[in-house]
Structure formats: C-alpha cells, structure tokens
C-alpha cells in the first residue's frame, strides 16, 4: 500500500538544496523591467498623463498608459469558464484603468532597462484626476451608493444579491417557547501573504506570447490572457514553475494579462513584472471582509427552530470571484446545522477598497467565525446544554442532502473528531477548572467546528485530465494540469498512481511544472479539489495504463488478456498471482520491439459529478493577561475528518499551515487603510502581523478516517479546511476565560483593550 503511507515529498530534496527554480530564478538576463504606476486616489478617473519628464530618464524603453490598452473588459477569477452567459464571471477591468476604483489601481506601466530607471520614470509621471467621493464601508456602499457608481454596470454598487429559504421561516418562529438570540459578527480583510510575491515574466516565441508565472491555475490564466488581449487561446502559453505559496491569491489572473500585453508592446522582448511586497498587498487579492446579522430561535431543549442570516461581503474595487464567496458562506450557515427553518440573504458589494478574491476556504473562515461564535452565544442562554451537546444535536448527519446544492454527506466522522479533541485537550476537566476565575490572568477553553465541501461541483464545472507514459525501464511519467503549490499535490498524485498501477512509488516521475502547451487540462489548485477530482483522473488514467500494459503483455506472452494483471511491478497470472514477467521487461519490449513497438501511454478525463463534505474541530486552551490585553495560546488542536488520509506527513503539514493561518486570522492579522484616502497603511511584513515562529504555539493534529465512498481513494477535502475553526475556538476561549463575548476579529491587543474596558475588566 502506498496510499496512506508517510512518504517524503517528491520535491523536498530539490527545495532543500536550493535547486528548485521559481519564476524569478528562470529570468533571462536581458529581461526588461516593467513597473506599474498605481493611482493615488481611491475613486475617480484619470484625465491626463504628463509623461515628458519620465520619458527623459535614461533607460526608459516605453511607457504605456490606460489610454493605450485595448478597450476590453475581462474577468480575472480562477473559475472554469461558463459557456452560459448568465453564469460567466464579472468582466469589469481593463489591463490599465482610466476609471480609478481604489487607491493603488493600475493606471500606467513603464518598461525600462533596469529597475532604477523604471522606478525613477514611474515616479516622474504626472497624473491629473477627476476625483469622486470614495466609499470604504460595504453597508454604506449599498445604502448610499452616491451619484457615480463604482462600476456603471451596477448602479447601486451591489454585484449580486441572493437569497434562499428552507422551510417556512415566518411560520417556524411562531412556535411557542422559543429563545431568540441575535448577533452581529464581523470579520476583517486579510492577505494571503505567500512569501513569493506576485511575479511573472513574458516574451514572444514562435508567434505566441509566453507567460511564466507563479499561478495556481495555468489553464485558466491562459484563457483570461486571451480574453484580455482579444486573441485566440492557442496564441497564449502559460508556464508555471515551482511556486512560493498561493492560498487562493493566485487563483486569479494577477500580473499575467498586463505582462503579456507589455511584452507585445516591445516586439516580444522579455519583460518582467515582479510585484513588490507592498504591491502584492494592495494590488493583488485578499480575503473578503464580511458582516453577518444572525437571528436564531432555539427551543429550550437545545435544537434550532429557525435561523436567519443577512450577509454583506466587501468585494472591493473589482469583481474577481465576486459573489461566489459569500454565497458559499451563507450555504455553509445552512449546511453546518441543517435543522429547522433557515433563511439567508447575501450581498456582494463594490467598494473603493482593494479587490478581494479567493483565500483559503473561500468564505468559510468568515462564516465559521460568525456561526461558531453565535452558537456559543446561544449556548450561554440555554439551561441544559454545553458547547458539545448543542453542536452534536444540531450538526449535519450522515446522508444529509443539501436542498440548495444537492451535495450529499457521503461520510462523516465529525462526532468522533469532537470526542477525540475533547479528550486530547482535557475539555471536561478544564471547563470545571476554569469556572469562577478572578485576577489579572485567566484561562479559558473554546471550540469551533466546520463542514467543507470538496471541490466546486455542482456550482461550477469539475473536470480534470491526467496523462501517463510508460518509460522503457517500467517507470512512468505522470503529467497533470493540477498544480503543486506547496500543499503536496505532486506527492499524493504519485502515491495514487503507484497504488493503482501497483508499482513502486519511486518509479513514478511527476512533472511538477505545468505548461499549457503540453500539460493535460485541469482547472488548477483551489477548492481543496485536487485529491478528489484530479485524484479520480489519476486513478482512471492508471487503470487505463495498466490495461494497456496488460494488453501488450498478453501479446508478448501469448496469453489471454483476461488472465493477466499488474501486481507489485510484475505481470502475474490472475488467481494464482504467479509472476510471469517483470514490468520492466514488458516496457523494454514495448519500446524496442522490431515487430510490434507500442509506446504505451494513457490519458483520461474525469468529469466529476459528485461532491462530499469534510469536517473538523478545533479546541484551544488559552490564557488571557487582562491588563496587558494579551492572549497566550497554551494548547491548540485540530481534529479532521478528511476521509482516507493519503499521506499522513503532507496532511499534517496542511493542518499545521491552516492552523497557523487561523491563529493569525483570529489574533493578529488585518489590512489597515487610511480612512481618508483608502491608502493601505500596513502593506509590509513589519506592520502586517503575520505570526513568527515564536508567536506560534506548537500545533497538534489528529485525524479520524472514515472512508468516503465518493472519493477516489476514500479521501475528501483537506487543503483549506484547517484554517476554518481556529478563530472561533479562540474567541470562544476568551469568552470562557473572561465572560467577554467578542463579535469581531482579530482579537488583537487594541480590540481586547476596548472590549475589556467596556466590560469593566480594565478601569
């Protein structure tokens, strides 16, 4: 068995010895440098550029402004394209924009021989603007959109408003004896902060524009570039090398379309467009800030009778992934506790903030915080329930079919996850121990649970292709369009291929780089979809290759195909498992046979039309230093049901990473903006509070592994989910420790100071 085994990553050595090449490492020495001029107003339009001084800078090759780009509005979201117009992504930006919609909007670009010249010339460009009042608050944007909409296509600044209702909410609330609980919960805008900045370079070769880019979604970026440039898709080639983290930000076309355009303006000479850390902060994507109004009606026996949510999502200046995130959030509000009547309304709103897009768990960290905070607020009002009993009574059960999406719960280990975490953290003893505390430093425990679907079916297309080629030595080449972005995808695909083919893991050679001219189609790394969707493509392709190998062996051995199988790297007789010939011998003959050469390869598409839920829980044990407004996390554990774990080491790594991101989300991270201008204040790693090693507690992880019948190897989503339950667990632990229920994150010192002062804990 290779699936389920701890195996070192296939790319670990090349990353440890420094030979792994990332985008910038592949640069041509003669590459020209492009630098983008960003707007210094948040809302308005460019009236004119004065380029005279800038052009005089020695080394400047060309300056392109928003008046020079094609009059094409294109989408950037990393979604599979919909051939139905109604479901297509929002097309609302140009390569450079005359109509400026946030502080930092891309309005011009300088191409120069070197960085000093490019920077210098950019700083000398003079811009004349017509300025409009800027709107930074999402509710304000809806309630008071002003005379000039942010996008003329959406006069009231609402990109999409959606709603749903399960059962009759108005009827349900009439039930006598219900306890009403309301809350308003807010989550902040944060950034993905992959350590490799947004970066690409582009050149023209053989009539095609080639873009080398750190992207999660090479095939989608090819389509987006062709839309932005107004050219055929076949004229664009995207190459994705090793990539320094994505976390959803690179599930979007970022620098690629403009970079492709810029190289074409200088005759196809190589041009690099490497965003700085600052530009990556404000000029790429971020996690949507959201605000939720939740009302619940609960029976005294601790079950939901009815529940309502009104959600606002701040999409910022451009559409990007738009409504898909908050729609996901209000759906999860329904799915997590599918009990009673449920009603949801969601708004996705343009504002003059930098654009939000995909970030790890796509709307669910936001609702996860709100819902799990709300649940603890409910429990505080119930006489006979505690955090665990209430959740267990109301949470999703096996066989649940979601009325909105039809996604079915094919497996669940959530209850076991909770039991395991409860035991590990010592929940029952600590609840008892932490009662009735006084003093400056107080302890608390808290928890949060989540459910997460696996991939995007049926909301969008789920498809994946895989190719395998048999080498002469019996090893195989494995090619997928799905991308390795650090999560370990290449390693688990290799395990899956080895498993199904029954060959040694070492004999699977996966090509880690994607090149859209070569690689099979796949939509890319997002939605925690790859092990589930691409995994099935790998399995199907391995089965197909195995079949072809056995066909050839049957010819070679002059046996009936039906009697042969590939087991343990050998062709064996079915039934007896007698070894007939090694795979290597078959492979050599297939390649070099003078009478019947056959270059055995297989390629299959998996069109996925199923989905399932993964689950998990976080338990946190913290201490709060009230006068210093500081939280110290003493222990934190995530327990996950992601079905069969393909590789315990990479799986644990995903959970660690998600927990760390969840800790940052819950405690420290927040993008800050000047309230007057909309300029980002903390667009650097000193002022944006990413957690360092010493800020991060040791992370504990456990799994329960019910085999999911719909997953290719019993597996379901894992990449994104670990981030989800951490922030609410921390919030609920602060509540447990201090009695102060805080309804927004991050729980940073300034926030705690406000809350503790309001609660009278600080005088």
């Amino acid at each position: 068995m290779v699936v389920g085994k701890k195996i070192n990553r296939v790319d670990a050595v090349t990353k440890a010895d420094g030979t792994a090449k990332y985008t910038e490492d592949l640069l041509d020495d003669k590459c020209l440098v492009a630098k983008v001029l960003h707007s210094t107003i948040a809302n308005g339009k460019v009236l004119s550029f004065d380029l005279e001084e800038a052009k005089k800078v020695p080394g400047v090759v060309k300056i392109i402004t928003s008046f020079d780009v094609p009059d094409i509005q294109y989408p950037t979201a990393g979604h599979p394209w919909s051939t139905e117009k109604a479901h297509q992504d929002v097309c609302d930006r140009k390569l450079l924009n005359t109509r400026v919609r946030f502080y930092g909007d891309e309005i011009a670009a300088v191409i120069a021989d070197d960085e000093i010249a490019a920077d210098h010339a950019r700083d000398l460009i003079k811009v004349e603007y017509e300025e409009y009042p800027a709107i930074f608050d999402m509710e304000e944007s809806v309630n008071n959109p002003g005379d000039v909409p942010i996008h003329e296509e959406k006069p009231n600044n609402v990109i999409v408003k959606s709603n749903y209702e399960v059962l009759d909410y108005d009827e349900a609330v009439k039930e006598p004896g219900l306890i009403k609980v309301t809350g308003v919960y807010e989550t902040q805008k944060v950034q993905q902060c992959h350590i490799e900045n947004a970066s690409s370079f582009a050149y023209k070769e053989a009539g095609k524009v080639v873009v080398v880019s750190a992207t999660q979604i090479p095939h989608i970026v090819r389509r987006v570039c062709s839309q932005a440039l107004g050219c055929d898709m076949g004229k664009v080639r995207i190459i994705k090398p090793y990539l320094g983290g994505g976390f959803g930000n690179r599930q979007d076309a970022l620098t690629e379309p403009l970079n492709a355009f810029l190289t074409l303006q200088v005759g196809g000479r190589p041009v690099k467009l490497m965003y700085t850390r600052e530009e990556t902060f404000f000029g790429t994507r971020s996690r949507h800030a959201m605000k939720f109004y939740i009302t619940s009606y609960v029976r005294p026996n601790g079950t939901f009778a009815a529940r309502e949510i009104v959600a606002y999502s701040d999409n910022g200046a451009y559409g990007s992934h738009a409504h898909a995130l908050v729609a996901n959030a209000v759906n999860a509000f329904r799915m997590m506790y599918p009990v009673g009547a449920i009603k949801g309304v969601a708004y996705t709103v343009y504002t003059n903030n930098p654009t939000a897009g995909a970030m790890r768990a796509y709307g669910i960290p936001q609702i996860g915080f709100a819902l799990e905070a709300h649940v603890d607020d409910i429990i505080a009002k119930l006489p006979n329930d505690d955090a665990i009993s209430f959740r267990k009574k109301n949470m999703m059960q096996l066989g649940y079919v979601d009325p909105g999406t039809t996604i079915t719960c094919h497996s669940t280990g959530l209850s076991e996850c909770i039991d395991k975490g409860r035991e590990a953290i010592g929940w029952d003893e600590k609840i008892e121990k932490y009662k009735n505390q006084t003093g400056d430093v107080r302890h608390g425990v808290g928890m949060g649970i989540f459910c997460y679907k696996t991939g995007v079916y049926p909301i969008a297309l789920e498809t994946s292709a895989c190719r395998m080629i048999l080498n002469q030595d019996g090893s195989i080449q494995l090619q997928v369009g799905a991308t390795e972005i650090g999560q370990g995808a290449d390693t688990v695909f290799s395990q899956m291929a080895a498993e199904t083919l029954s060959i040694p893991f070492e004999n699977v050679h996966i090509l880690s780089q994607q090149d859209t001219d070569v690689t099979p189609y796949d939509t890319g790394a997002y939605g925690s979809r790859q092990t589930y969707v691409t995994g099935m493509a790998v399995r199907k392709t391995a089965e197909s290759l195995k079949n072809k190998i056995c066909d050839y062996a049957a010819w070679m051995l002059n046996k009936d195909r039906i009697d042969l199988d590939l087991v343990d790297n050998h062709i064996v007789r079915v039934g007896t498992n007698d070894v007939l010939i090694s795979l290597k011998e078959v492979a050599m003959e297939a390649c070099y046979s003078r009478t019947n050469s056959n270059h055995i390869a297989a390629e299959e598409t998996h069109h996925c039309s199923d989905n399932t839920y993964s689950f998990g829980v976080c338990f946190a044990d913290i201490e709060v230093d009230i006068p210093l407004c500081q939280i110290k996390v003493n222990r934190i554990i995530n327990v996950h049901d992601s079905g069969t774990i393909i590789n315990p080491q990479t799986a644990e790594g995903q959970v660690h990473g998600g927990m760390s991101m969840g800790l940052g989300y819950g405690l420290l991270e927040k993008m800050l903006f000047d309230p007057k201008t909309g300029r980002m204040l903390n667009s650097n790693l000193l002022d944006y509070k990413l957690m360092t090693a010493i800020d991060t507690p040791d992370l504990e992880v456990a799994f329960v592994e019910p085999k999911d019948p719909s997953g290719p190897y019993g597996n379901k989503s894992l990449g994104e989910p670990p981030v989800i339950p951490v922030a609410p667990a921390l919030r609920n632990a602060v509540y447990n420790a201090t009695g102060v229920a805080i309804d927004s994150i991050p729980l940073n010192p300034e926030k705690l100071f406000q809350e503790f002062t309001d609660a009278g804990l600080i005088k």
């Binding site: 920077d119 700083d123 006068p627 210093l628 790693l685 800020d695 010192p749 300034e750 100071f753």
Partner: protein, 293 residues
C-alpha cells in the same frame, strides 16, 4: 540596486570625519537596516551616503579606567547581548537590544544607528536613557561629550551637526553600579515588531533592601522621543517598598508622558501600558536587586 547618488567609502574614522565635513548632507550608513529601507521606498532615493560599515575601530565594548562602560556605535545588537561586560554590568541593555526585530536584524543593526535615527520606539533608547548614558560625538574639530538626555530634539531629530559622527556611548560606573534593571517591550508580535510601548526601569536599593535609593524610569513611544518620567522617579526615591508605592509610581508616570493615537495604537491603550509595564518592570527590578514587595 540601491539608488545612491554618491557613496563615500572612508578607510578610517579620520577619513570619515573629513568626508562628513566636506559632505554634511551625506547620510552615515552604518548597519543600513533603516537607511537602506528608506532608500528603497523612495524617501531617501538618490541620497549621498558615507559607508562607515567596514570601520572596525567603531566596533566593540570595553570598561574604561574610571569604570565607565564604553560601547562603540557600530557594535551590533547581537554582539551587545552576547558581550560578557554587558552580561555582567548592564544585562538590561543586553536584554533590551535582544528584543529588536529578529536575529538577522540584530546581527546587522547597530546601537549607534538605533539612537541616531531618533525614533521614539528604538529599543535601546529607553534603557540608555534610564542609565544616563553619555555620548561621544566627533568631528574634524574634535570631540564633544553630550548627555544622552539632551540628544533628542524631536521625532527623528537628534543633536548631531552636519559634520559630526557619533563615536561612542558611555555608561558611567556610578550609573550602573549596584543597580538592577528591567526592560519590557510591548509589541503585537514577540519578534519582528516595533514597540507599541517600551519601558526600562532600574533601581538601586538601600543597604537593607527595604527602600528604593534611586529609581530611574524611561519609556519609548510614550511621547515623541524616548523619555524619562521625573515625577514618578522623584516619588519613588527614598521610599519604602510596598505594592502601593509601585502603583503610585506607575500612576505618577502617567502625568509625565504624552503618548498619541496612531493607527498602530490608541493613546488610551498606550496609557494603560505605561502604567502596567511600569508596575511589572519595577517589581522585577526590585526583585533582581534583592528586594521584596
């Protein structure tokens, strides 16, 4: 590539002083962890610099004949922390500079740079203030000695003339002898962060360890420059140690400070920290000095 207009490269202190007098507008490039960043972000792009980084004469720590501790300005933070003289006589300073940034910054950043850039959040500044450090400032015209207390002239401004270079930082024996100190840095993260507030306290107790003979309290970020709190110190000097005294000193400190609200923290929160850090640093200092509360 850093956008310098000119980079002057002296081989000796004398050359450096000569260059500084010829190019008074040129900036002194020591560890670079402030200046290079500002060159990159454009604030200082196109500037002239005098690269004193290689001048090893300006590195090192020694005890002088009169017992003063002399720290040369290019000494890196990590070398200060690891230095046996500092460990023995001024551990609070070694600890303070060990709270700066991360290991890489502590290896490149210099104590001279930390105080010459004049920012209120400099982690070494409050401790040097609290120990009444004296600065040695040189020019082609000679050397002058200046109490560090008089060095700050406002946010980012210090008393250094165009032709001058800081060449030494001294802590007199009287200042550190029998004195025990504590620095508390409050920051959102425990590394790679600037202080929301810094508090450096040191005490000399009476022989019976029952009273405070001398207490000195200095803050970073409690005002536009690193500052002492004379009212609080005066209140503490000569008093019997009690928990009430500690609270009183901390309350008195509030009358001396003038923190402001910025997007990094509110004035109110900083006031809370001024009080709380003072109490905690005082308690620790007193305990280190052998006192009981």
């Amino acid at each position: 590539m850093y956008d310098f207009n000119n980079i002057y490269q002296p081989k000796t202190i004398e050359e450096a002083l000569k260059m500084k007098s010829e190019h008074p507008e040129a900036l002194i490039l020591a560890g670079g962890s402030d200046i290079l960043i500002q060159v990159r972000d454009g604030k200082l792009a196109g500037c002239d610099v005098i690269n004193i980084q290689p001048l090893n004469e300006l590195r090192g720590i020694c005890v002088e004949d009169n017992g003063s501790i002399l720290i040369r300005p290019l000494t890196s933070f990590s070398h200060i922390t690891k230095n046996p003289i500092i460990e023995k006589f001024l551990p609070a300073l070694g600890f303070a500079v060990d709270q700066i940034g991360g290991p890489q910054i502590r290896n490149i950043g210099t104590i001279g740079g930390n105080i010459c850039n004049g920012v209120t959040s400099a982690d070494s500044a409050s401790t040097l203030k609290a120990y009444d450090a004296v600065l040695e400032i040189a020019s082609v015209d000679g050397i002058r000695l200046l109490p560090y207390a008089d060095f700050s002239k406002g946010p980012g401004k210090v008393d250094l003339k165009g032709n001058e270079i800081l060449t030494g930082i001294r802590v007199p024996k009287e200042s550190y002898e029998n004195t025990y100190g504590e620095y508390m840095k409050y920051s959102v993260r425990r590394a790679m962060d600037i202080a929301t507030l810094g508090c450096s306290v040191n005490v000399r107790l009476t022989d019976d360890k029952k009273s405070i003979d001398r207490v000195r309290i200095a803050y970073g970020v409690a005002g536009p420059t690193p500052m002492r709190v004379p009212t609080a110190e005066k209140l503490g000097n000569g008093k019997v140690i009690t928990e009430q005294l500690i609270t009183d000193i901390a309350e008195a400190a509030l009358t001396d400070v003038k923190p402001r609200t910025s997007w990094r923290a509110s004035k109110e929160f900083r006031m809370q920290l001024i009080k709380e850090l003072c109490k905690r640093s005082l308690r620790t200092s007193i305990k280190k000095a052998g006192g009981t509360i």
